[in-house]
């Protein structure tokens, strides 16, 4: 599961920011990768659209600065979503 999420997020970052995917690691921050702001919002949009989740705009609880942080955030949101769906069922 985790690898799948990470792979997909790295794919999205590489595609939207036209980056060599090999440059992206869990530790690389989006700032290190020199991703322009307009590409950033497109990355967030593509992630939300793919996983059907809503990334928070700004929150101390979520790390969206690094690629790894983004992966953890998405996994947390997916887990919360799964909980809610279970509770509903």
């Amino acid at each position: 599961m985790s690898d799948d999420v990470q792979n997909k997020i790295f794919d999205i970052i590489a595609k939207e920011a036209s980056l060599d995917r090999a440059r992206i690691t869990r530790d690389s921050t989006l700032k290190d990768l020199q991703i322009p702001s307009l590409d950033m919002v497109q990355i967030f949009f593509a992630i939300e659209d793919h996983f059907n989740i809503n990334l928070p705009d700004q929150s101390a609880d979520f790390d969206t600065e690094s690629a790894g942080g983004l992966v953890d955030t998405v996994e947390r949101l997916l887990a919360e979503k799964a909980e809610k769906e279970k509770a509903k069922a």
Partner: protein
């Protein structure tokens, strides 16, 4: 007073993807009106249009850049490239960049982007909106992208006056250069309005033809929507001569007026005032003009009203004028209309061939001028005017002279 000339033109429309191709179609009287192929027609009563067909955006823009460009901006960029290349003008390294204006008319702006985002939101209940929605749909996007692509840093903006947008934009550029505010301009109009939503809006006004567009002809049933862009490079006669540029025509003057009457019905008095103002600005007597590129939408009300306005201004000279509506071929491009039509005017002046009014069948007693029916005419054109009359009663007329 500074004299302003056109040294480059670009166009994309239903009748061609370049100004050269569009002019060839106009000269041959070939219409680009046909069944709609680019949009779903299930909900439509009117299923014809003058669409840009066989167009592959990826042949002009890479995928990454395309994400930023609504169809309306793509058209403007393609036409601007052609115009700038033809003129041979260079903006960088000679101080011209900051002395060049970009003024682009559009009736609405990114209508395809808006339509797509609403479909996603309201129809598919998808609450996520694409983050490039706003920069794609804003009405100044075409002007902005032209400045970015060509490194033009002078005063630049969009002009919106529905069907007169392009003529108002070209008029603004003319006055900016004449006043010394700029030394050159990239100006014109663009529109990409053939969406299901826009078609339904026009249908509801009951001014759309279901057969074809036959301006000034008996049996005309209305307008046909078109799309595309026309973009021109304007500069001073002095600059053009100094750099040995080919001068396509002189943009001698422009006239503008508002009807201050009905929000949709045209008015012969208001439109006549714009024609008079254009002639006065260009210093043209009525007997010096040989050709009128008409607004000529093909609606029952526009065509006789425009005929009366022409008669009112030109008097006895009206009977020796050639008047044609090229909308019969490229459709009504709304905010791009005057710019696409300017290709026909420049062609008439530079080549001595007057583009015809296509699809003309019989004479209408209320439209009693020479409309150059169906077949182009070889005739020296010393000077010409081009009419645009918008919903909202905003009129803009350009006056051009043959290059000396």
């Amino acid at each position: 007073m500074r004299r302003i000339v056109i040294t480059g033109m670009g166009c994309i429309a239903a009748i061609g993807h370049t100004a050269t191709a569009c002019w060839a179609s106009m000269r041959e009287g070939r219409s680009g009106i046909g069944p709609l192929v680019n949009i779903e027609t299930e909900l439509l009563n009117v299923r014809i249009g003058a669409e840009v067909r066989g167009y592959d955006p990826l042949a002009h823009f890479d995928e990454k850049r395309l994400a930023l460009l609504d169809r309306v901006t793509q058209f403007a960029l393609i036409a601007a490239r052609e115009a700038v290349a033809q003129s041979g003008i260079a903006f960088a390294g000679n101080g011209l960049s900051g002395r060049t204006a970009v003024v682009i008319g559009t009736g609405v702006g990114g209508q395809n982007t808006l339509d797509d985002s609403y479909r996603r939101l309201y129809m598919h209940n998808n609450p996520r909106c694409h983050p490039l929605t706003i920069p794609r749909l804003m009405a100044n996007a075409p002007a902005s992208h032209i400045t970015m692509e060509h490194g033009i840093t002078g005063p630049s903006f969009a002009v919106a006056s529905a069907c007169s947008s392009a003529n108002h934009a070209v008029a603004m550029a003319l006055f900016m250069i004449r006043s010394g505010l700029a030394d050159a301009a990239v100006a014109g109009g663009t529109e990409a309005c053939i969406t299901v939503g826009t078609m339904k809006g026009w249908e509801a006004m009951r001014v759309m033809a279901t057969d074809t567009c036959r301006p000034f002809s008996r049996g005309r049933r209305g307008m046909v929507l078109g799309e595309g862009a026309g973009i021109f490079v304007l500069e001073t006669l002095e600059n053009a001569k100094a750099r040995g540029a080919v001068i396509l025509a002189e943009l001698a003057g422009a006239g503008m007026s508002s009807d201050a009457g009905d929000i949709v019905a045209p008015c012969d008095l208001g439109t006549a005032r714009a024609i008079e103002a254009a002639l006065a600005d260009a210093g043209l007597a009525t007997d010096a003009v040989d050709y009128v590129n008409a607004h000529g939408t093909g609606t029952t009300i526009n065509d006789p009203t425009e005929t009366r306005a022409i008669r009112r201004v030109f008097g006895a000279d009206a009977d020796r004028l050639a008047v044609s509506s090229t909308k019969s071929m490229h459709g009504h491009g709304l905010g791009a209309a005057g710019a696409i039509e300017l290709v026909g005017v420049v062609g008439a002046l530079s080549q001595g061939i007057i583009p015809p009014t296509a699809n003309f069948t019989d004479r209408d007693p209320d439209c009693d001028l020479d409309y150059v029916p169906n077949v182009a005419r070889e005739q020296l054109v010393r000077a010409a005017i081009s009419n645009s009359f918008a919903f909202g009663g905003l009129n803009a007329v350009l006056a051009l002279k043959r290059a000396a």
